[in-house]
Amino acid sequence: MTYDIIIIGGGITGVSIAYELAKKKAGKILLLEKEFLSAGSSGSCAAGIRAQFGSEFNIGLMKLALEKFEVLAEELEYPADRIGLWQGGYLVMSSSQPEWESLKARVIVQHRLNVMTEVLTPGEVKYRFPDVNVDGCFGATYHSKDGHADPFYTVFAYGKAAERFGVEIRKRTEVTELVRDDQGIKGVRLADGDTIEAKQVLVATGAWTHHLMKTIGLDIPLWGERHEILITEPVERVFSPMVISFSLGYYIQQRPHGSFIMGLPPEQKHRWFDPAQFDISPTWGFLERMSDTVQRILPRFKGLNIVRQWAGLYEITPDSHHIIGPIEEVPGLFSAAGGSGHGFMYGPGLAPIMAEWMLGQSLSYDITRLNYQRFAKGELVIEPAVVG
């Protein structure tokens, strides 16, 4: 059986692109997932959504994503309380004068693009968010439309909607290698040895992308890195923003469910290219560092009980941006991976554009600079506002 398009990977990127393609009647589409939808990085992430980036390119793209999130439940015909979009804002804290200056500089860019971020002095932060400890804070920026959505249900909602539009989703089906010939991509080979042919193949496998591309001799500069998160018991909502610091790396937020979710970047950064190296077991060091951090930043919540901690993989690229679009060496092969910790928030924004790209239509937002070729040309896309 031949498909028009095979999508590998059942995370936010894979399912959202599958949905957008099917909506555009792109033909017979098959989505392959080796475990279950959202089993990889999408299901492990903190699921924050923000437009407070530093580069025009990112701010514009995230504005699209935010707008998409706002109508997602309606569009996908999924219960809004499950997708759980919570726009409680992101409170970006500074911890040094230079950082504060650069945050303010970014706000100017954001305002130009109609992302109306507020600039708050420590006193204003204290007044607006009395629970936040502003010791050592030089000021903060706040954008009220940033927030959070449930990563599981968002992926499930896309999956359901995609199936309604005719996408075939096969779970527990592992792709072991890509199949190509001189003309271009031919299809994929599964763990059980079967080969499925397709005219186009999209690899949306996050940290596993490097490994899969390697099976046809491509060397994609994308690696996995362990990041850890913990979550507390739920309590009634008392705190709305995601408190975040780019320099110190922490992010802390109360989810709509009531639990607090928080994370810190790893102390030791590994570059894992091979899935055999992937280690997402949690560490006690994180628990200690995170408890210290939250007690310092939000002292009121120090009595909360921790329910669970876990780790997942960031999929990192040299410039912390997606590697997205056609792989020119292999006609018919596309990649959409490498969110570097932002895959979930970008997903709904990127998907329609990526679908246009795969179908040869004109792009409604120019994302061509995120193509794989940028590394060969040395045209990296630099973004200053990232965690970790």
């Binding site: 018991e233 739920p234 309590v235 009634e236 008392v238 009531g258 009121r300 919540f301 009595g303 909360l304 009980n305």
Partner: protein, 140 residues
């Protein structure tokens, strides 16, 4: 005396027979009442001894109650005949004592204004204010 005994014996036999046929009978239940009426606190036990502990007063929903110092809060509530400890968050169904070992979160209550206290393992002390928890708990 002798006659009464035979009537009684016959009654019991019929009742037992019917029970073994799995039929519910008032007669059977009257027989069972012959066991001692239990009190919530066990006074005498053939094997165990329960050394008396100092009594303490505490408040459940504002009502004064008595318990033993150091026993779990939930045990003291059960001894006072309280069965509802919290309401489930979504459907607001009553929840009570269930696992007794701090595993199941059925007994989370507000104790001295602190929500989500596992009352089945937290010891009771004099003057504690215990309240049914009806939400996820509010941090003070």
């Amino acid at each position: 005396m002798k006659k009464e005994w035979h009537v009684y014996l016959a009654c019991d036999k019929i009742a037992r027979l019917l029970v073994s046929l799995e039929m519910n009978l008032v007669c059977f239940q009257t027989l069972e009442r012959r066991w001692p009426t239990p009190l919530r606190r066990i006074k005498i036990h053939p094997i165990l001894t329960f050394p008396p502990k100092p009594k303490v007063q505490f408040f459940f929903e504002g009502e004064q109650m008595e318990g033993a110092e150091g026993e779990p809060i939930a045990a003291a509530l059960v001894a006072n005949g309280i069965s509802t400890f919290r309401e489930s968050v979504d459907l607001h169904r009553p929840r009570g004592f269930f696992c007794a070992i701090g595993n199941c979160s059925s007994c989370l209550m507000v104790v001295d204004d602190v929500p989500n206290v596992r009352t089945c393992i937290v010891p009771l002390h004099q003057g504690m204010r215990v309240q049914v928890q009806r939400d996820k708990g509010v941090l003070k």
